[in-house]
Symmetry: none
Subunit: 237 residues, 2 copies
DNA sequence: GGGTGAAACCAATGAACGATTGGTTTCATT
DNA sequence: AATGAAACCAATCGTTCATTGGTTTCACCC
C-alpha cells in the first residue's frame, strides 16, 4: 500500500514550495475579512510559479476543506456559506425534537455511506481528530459542540451539496430552539463514553471504505440518541 | 358597527369599476405563465383610470392574498415564492443531475418508510389514484407531472416537516433547470410500463404497512431512474 | 512519462449603467 | 373626499464589460 500513500514530503519540491507558501498565507490570516485569497494569476506571479502549480496546490487545500472556490467569484478561506438560516427559522416552529431526530435518522446514515465512499486519508484523520476532541472535552457543553462538528464534517465529506444543505437545515433548526437544555440531560459521563465508542465505530467503517457498515454504525448511534431523548422528554413531561 | 363595514358596494363607482376589471383579468387567467400582471401604468392606461385608482384596487387584492407585489419587479397573481424556492434557486447552480439523483436515493426510500408507517387508507387510495393517472397519461410530459405528484404525495404523507422540506428542495432544484429535456429521453414507452410496475410495488408495500419493503421498492425504482439518467447523459456527452 | 510554465480559450460571476417597475409625495381638479 | 396627473425615490432586471476560476493545448525539461 506504500505506493498509494499521498505523503506531502514525497511531492516534487516546487509543488511543495507553492503549497506551503499558500498554507502560510491562510494560517497567518493576513487576508480580507471575507477570507478572499489573491487570484490564481496573482498568486502565480507573487510566488514566481506557473498557474498550473498554483491550481494543484489549491486543489489540495480545497480537498482538505481549508478553502472553497467558485468560478467567476474567487478563492476563499474557510467553509462555503449555506444560506439555510431563513428557511430554518420559518419551519422551526412546526418541528419538534422527536421529528428532528427522526429526520437525522433518515439523512445521516446516508451521509455516512457517501462519506465512506469518498473520504480521503486526510479526511479520516480529520474525523479522528474531531472524535478525540469530543472525547477530551471538559464539560458536556463543549462535548456537544465537538460532536456537532464531527457530524458536520461527515456531512461535508459526503460531497453532495443537496444532502449537505438538508443536513444544515436540520442542524440549524436544532440549534435555533432551546432544545439545548433538553439535550443536556442526555449527556451523562457514562453515556458520553458510549457515544465516543460509537463514533469510533463509525469512523472505523469510513476508514475501511465500508459504506454499509458506516451507515449502520451511524444509525445505531442515532438510535441511542433517540432513545435517550425520549427518556429525557418523558421524565420532563 | 355599520360604519366600519368596508362593503364593496359602498365604494365609489370608479374604484369599483377598476377593481372589478382587474379581478376579471386575474380570474380569467389570461396572463403569462409566471402570473405577471400588466404594470400599474399599463393598467391605468388600459382602464382609462389614474394610477392612484389602480393602486388602491391592487392594495385591496394584495390584502386579500390574490396577488403579491415587489418593487422593481412587478405584480403577480397567486402566492409569493416561499423560502424553499429561494434556497433552491441559490444552490441550484452547483448541483448537477447526478448528484440530485444521488440525494433522492438517500431521502426518498426513507420517506417511503415513514409513509408506510403513517399512511391512512385514504392516503393509500390517493396514491393509487396518482399512479393510475401516471399510467394513463397520454404523453411523456404529463406522465412526468403525475409521477412528480406521486412522489410528492409520498413525501407529504411521511409526515415529517424537515424531510418534506428536504424533498421539496431537491424537487425545486430539479424543476428549476432545464434538466427536463434530459429526462425526456428516459421516458420511452417500455420504460414507462416498467416504472408503473415499480410504482405499484411501492404502493403495495405502503398499503401493507411494510416500511422496509416500501423503502426497498423505492430504492429499486430510483436506481432504475439513476441508470437511465446515466445512460442518457453518456449518450449526450 | 510526468511535472512545469506559458498561453489561449470557456464559463460563471460581479460591477456599472440604463430602463423598468412598484412605492410615495405633491398638487390641481372635480 | 376622491380622482387624475406628474414627479421623484428605491428596488429590480437586462445588458455590457472586466474579472476569475476551469480547461485545454503546447513546448520544455528533468
Amino acid at each position: 500500500m506504500l505506493h498509494e500513500r499521498p505523503k506531502e514530503s514525497q511531492d516534487p519540491p516546487e509543488a511543495r514550495r507553492v503549497l506551503d507558501a499558500i498554507r502560510q498565507i491562510i494560517s497567518e490570516g493576513r487576508l480580507p475579512s471575507d477570507g478572499r485569497l489573491p487570484t490564481e494569476r496573482q498568486l502565480a506571479a507573487e510566488l514566481e510559479a506557473g498557474r498550473a502549480s498554483v491550481r494543484r496546490a489549491l486543489d489540495r487545500l480545497e480537498a482538505e476543506g481549508l478553502i472553497w472556490r467558485k468560478q467567476g467569484k474567487g478563492t476563499f478561506a474557510g467553509q462555503p456559506p449555506d444560506p439555510t438560516e431563513e428557511l430554518a427559522a420559518q419551519i422551526a416552529s412546526d418541528v419538534d425534537p422527536l421529528s428532528a431526530m427522526e429526520a437525522r435518522l433518515c439523512i445521516e446514515p446516508a451521509l455516512a455511506d457517501l462519506c465512506a465512499r469518498r473520504a480521503t486519508a486526510e479526511d479520516v484523520a480529520r474525523l479522528r481528530k474531531l472524535a478525540e476532541r469530543t472525547h477530551d472535552a471538559d464539560d458536556s457543553d463543549s462535548a456537544e459542540l465537538w460532536d456537532g462538528a464531527l457530524h458536520r464534517a461527515i456531512a461535508r465529506i459526503a460531497g453532495n451539496r443537496l444532502m449537505l444543505t438538508a443536513f444544515t437545515l436540520i442542524d440549524e433548526v436544532r440549534m435555533g430552539d432551546d432544545w439545548q437544555k433538553k439535550r443536556h440531560r442526555a449527556r451523562t459521563p457514562e453515556l458520553r463514553a458510549f457515544y465516543d465508542a460509537q463514533h469510533q465505530k463509525i469512523i472505523d467503517a469510513i476508514d475501511a471504505r465500508d459504506g454499509t457498515a458506516a451507515a449502520g454504525a451511524m444509525r445505531e448511534h442515532l438510535e441511542t440518541l433517540f432513545d435517550n431523548l425520549r427518556k429525557s422528554m418523558e421524565g420532563r413531561a
